[in-house]
Symmetry: C2
């Protein structure tokens, strides 16, 4: 199908940076990597020969995106979560009843994320069936691997009258139809995902019905989980136990369930997530605005929890998962050092919480893929060719060859890659985005 | 000299966003704004008519840049400060003995920062006289307003034998010569600045001599101040009091002295800074890696301290002061909410510490200018025309006219502007950077 000659950076494990200098990767007609060979042993012409200032990397896996919030990316973050939802976000999402508006947004959003290197996207849609199916179609048309979920939300207190499912049965029925419509598109690239918005927005009947729906249809699940003090306490007040236990009782804590945020999760929650083979979408930038604390990433990883990264568009203002990875490193450092200079050092932060750029890139690629149970996130024979090419030619446009070794070059790349430095994006072997020039 | 037709965003005060729709700004031959008029009252042709998807803003003032660290931007940030300095930074800086290497770096650095919208830069050079003067010349050649300081560092413990001034008298003498050489370039645009690296790197004699040098030559001063637990405590151990008192005793706490970081400063330090009319360069991203805490910005502002922003290249991995402004908002939110989810909410953060994007942009423009005593940072008749044009056409390339009002558009702009969205940069009326196309 295609072949690419390049030097590769990737992270097969959370702690290991692998560098392959000047190899040719060939991809078969199914979009799967069929061989990786040193370039000097390759005889045939190649389709794409990357400039030496570029590196080829696995594509990025964004576990948490609210697609209809794209037009408000970067706004309203000074508001508390409840006002942000009711005054900004729900009014915007309700506009996706208008299919033409939805299609205009999807046609902007999906290519933008491909330019940012997001080859796999896990999307919340809106409550609208047509707009959600249109999002799945847009992903197929632009070639992005995706999970697309129609949002279920029917709780009389947790949602406004003008933006909710009219009943639990309506919520479940529309969710079932959304699964059928997305499956009817007939591509493995784009899959449905059962999406109860979060517990405060859903009635018990809806939560239980969606758990059963996921089970009978074999569909993945996504929801929010212990995102903030308010949301975490709300669930305890309503059920007498935490989000993970509640989700578990409703049948929503399943293999590859994507739990967004999780900042307030405790050790017993981590155990339950491991037991159920679910995973967490860590959204560091959104958490700084709505999460009330830093997700204890190192503790989760040490407990054996599957974790990947999410931008949380538009609760997070940053569309780039690479920049989100850099922020995950920064946030982990702030958790470790603490923030309040008036406290003495030993009472300020939490020891041993830092991650490094290698850990962060693994989260952004293989980590996210493992949460979803997908074989992507690594360039290896037998895996889909989901990849990006990044210009690492120095922030100022120059590669400081005599200063940088691989580890330093990789650190620069993680800390400085924006969309204008991603030259190519491939999904399943298809070139789906390319910078002009 | 030139005229620009555009809509303007700017922050005349820390809390006020001013929006001027479709005005013509004319600039005289001295680079000073001579008039601002509604476009429909303007008769003559204009030199630059910005597309409606663009906004004109005051140029950015970066108060803290280590110019010779540019080639290592974004690397080594997993190291503790001392190892970062001795194993990475000092070896790199020592290479600036080679003038050709220095000139290659400056020719990359200065245009890159202009592309990022930094119209005023406060630079640390290296200990090398020739390389430092070459940096001043590069600023003049590329048209960047700048303060350029030859670094003085002679302490036998705080510096390595292979990268230090040989004696206090040599440090003071070279600093005096650097002032003379930079003044001899004969432009107001680029000024010298007295630069004791930081107290741990300087002998008492050097600190005292540089204080006297600043006084006799009427030169501004820059140094680091209470950056981290280690550095803050080092000064207390050496002198029995904090950085601000020590700097004051050595005559370095003067009007418009730029004190970088200040995360560990207490209320009495703030009082001293206000009394001496000095100011602080807040470097939020660098502080997450080397500062051990978040600078208590809100407390400093409430105490009446002049504060601006610094990237701290390369202690901070981000060259964009606009992104640094966004990070200042994020860091202030993390100080307010706290970071450790195991603490109860009331014991986690510090109340009332947040800033918003309007405050942050003011810090990045007028705030920084006030620290330096410069008239820039605001587009007003009688002030120099230092300005940038930013494409605010939606993150995905689209302006959501029906979603965004001015306040939301401005928030988007602060949270999403990278170099590829800055189309023009002017300094003192001269167009010094323009994106192709």
């Amino acid at each position: 199908m295609t072949s690419v000659r390049a030097s590769v950076f990737q992270t097969p494990t959370p702690d290991h940076l692998e560098s392959m200098a000047d190899v040719v990767i060939s991809v078969d007609d199914a979009g799967v990597i069929s061989s990786i060979a040193p370039a000097d042993q390759w005889q045939s012409p190649v389709d794409h020969h990357l400039d030496p200032s570029h590196r080829l990397l696995p594509g990025l896996v964004d576990l948490h995106i609210h697609a209809p919030q794209w037009p408000q990316l970067g706004t309203g973050l000074d508001l508390p979560l409840e006002r942000w939802l009711f005054d900004h976000t729900f009014p915007l999402e309700s506009r996706f009843a208008d299919l033409a508006f939805a299609e205009m947004v999807w046609a902007d959003l999906v290519p933008a994320l491909l330019r940012h290197g997001t080859t796999t996207a896990v999307y919340y849609g809106s409550i609208h069936l047509a707009a959600t199916t249109a999002l799945a179609r847009a992903c197929l048309r632009f070639g992005q691997r995706a999970f697309v979920g129609r949002v279920a939300m029917d709780h009389l207190d947790g949602t406004p009258g003008w933006y909710r499912d009219p009943s639990a049965s309506a919520a479940i029925e529309a969710s079932a139809r959304s699964i059928a419509e997305i499956r009817a598109l007939g591509s493995e690239l784009v899959q449905p995902i059962v999406t109860p918005r979060f517990i405060p927005a859903c009635s018990d009947a809806t939560l239980a019905g969606l758990g059963a729906l996921a089970d009978t249809t074999g569909t993945l699940v996504q929801t929010h989980c212990s995102e903030s003090d308010w949301e975490h306490q709300y669930v305890i007040d309503r059920f007498g136990f935490s989000d993970t236990m509640a989700l578990d009782r409703f049948g929503l804590m399943r293999p590859n369930s994507v739990l967004a945020h999780g900042g307030l999760l405790g050790d017993s929650d981590f155990e339950r997530i491991v037991e159920r083979q679910a995973g967490i979408a860590h959204c560091p930038l959104s958490n700084a605005y709505f999460g009330d604390a830093v997700f204890p990433l190192r503790r989760a990883l040490d407990a054996g929890v599957n974790v990947g990264l999410g931008t949380d568009i538009a609760g997070g203002p940053e569309p780039s998962l690479m920049r989100t990875a850099a922020q995950a490193v920064t946030s982990s450092r702030m958790l470790e050092s603490g923030v309040d200079p008036r406290r003495v050092r030993d009472d300020r932060g939490v020891a041993d919480q830092r991650i490094d750029v290698v850990n962060a890139f693994w989260l952004a690629t293989r980590g996210g893929a493992e949460v979803l149970g997908l074989p992507v996130g690594l360039l290896e024979v037998g895996r889909p060719f989901d990849a990006i090419a990044v210009d690492v030619g120095g922030v100022g446009g120059r590669l400081w060859d005599d200063v940088d070794d691989d580890a330093r070059l990789f650190e620069k790349l993680i800390r400085s890659t924006s969309a204008d430095r991603i030259s190519h994006t491939w999904v399943a072997g298809a070139l789906v985005s390319q910078r002009p020039g």
